[in-house]
Symmetry: C2
Subunit: 132 residues, 2 copies
DNA sequence: ACACTTGTTTAGAATCATTATAAACAGGAT
DNA sequence: ATCCTGTTTATAATGATTCTAAACAAGTGT
């Protein structure tokens, strides 16, 4: 079962709650953006039972650390996550405060010419802010 | 006096406190990154007298709206601002939680091929995360 | 110079996302 | 089944940001 692998890989035991979180995050083909609150709501809707915020934060952060989720760099009062962990970027519509995926092919290769001593590049993320 | 213009342009009256904030933000040739707390400290050091946080937030946000300051899109518990409002990008060193400027010429032109109906691009920002 | 209106500053309270706590509970190895 | 250790939970603590409302200052008109 792939959820169990994801959890074990993230250093987490496969508990009932965590499997339910996985179900919400990873069962659909379509990827999506979410905040912790969005996720809490989705879980409440899907199963008929709430999972405490502490558990949700905990699990999401473990997945993020292992690369099963990505944080989207944006200044907002809430942290946004993405279930799409492939290399890609985002539009951010300032008026609606909505994120839109931007495929890598829509941006073209980004070649960072400068090097920082002793550091390697973990990710390159482009945020395109939109206004009316 | 250019500070007065910046303030008036941002819809703010040039008060003593706001001029002092301007002095800290815009008097040096060298640009810098800061959080609201950093700024509060800098002000305390520069003048011998504190300015209330409400005033600092207020002024910084007005400047940001007018483009005299830029928010740096990054997920952190604090919001980062940049006095460098030219087109440029950032490295973010995950270990030290430090930002480093990345000149446009070190990234090369970024051409966003996809268009969103009725929206125009306000900014394109690249964040390069660094690890050891 | 004075008074008046309206914008500003301030300290402190309120809010809200996130993190910490510690007690009850559950996995899973033996 | 037992035991050890990790997990869940409700709730409290934290900390950045925003709100509030009272004291104050700018700028205008007299």
């Amino acid at each position: 079962m792939k959820y169990i692998d994801k959890l074990r890989n993230s250093g987490l035991r496969p508990t009932k709650q965590r499997l339910q979180i996985c179900e919400v995050l990873f069962s659909t083909e379509k990827t999506f953006h979410f905040t912790i609150n969005d996720l809490e709501q989705k879980i409440k809707n899907k199963i008929n039972n709430k999972i405490s915020l502490a558990t949700i934060y905990n699990t999401v952060h473990a997945f993020e650390k292992k690369g099963y989720l990505k944080q989207i760099p944006i200044n907002s009062n809430q942290t946004y996550f993405d279930t799409n962990v492939t290399d890609h970027h985002h539009f951010y519509d300032l008026k609606n405060e909505k994120l839109i995926d931007l495929e890598n092919s829509d941006v073209g290769p980004i070649n960072i010419k400068r090097k920082i001593n002793g550091k390697k590049i973990k990710s390159v993320e482009v945020l395109v802010k939109l206004e009316d």
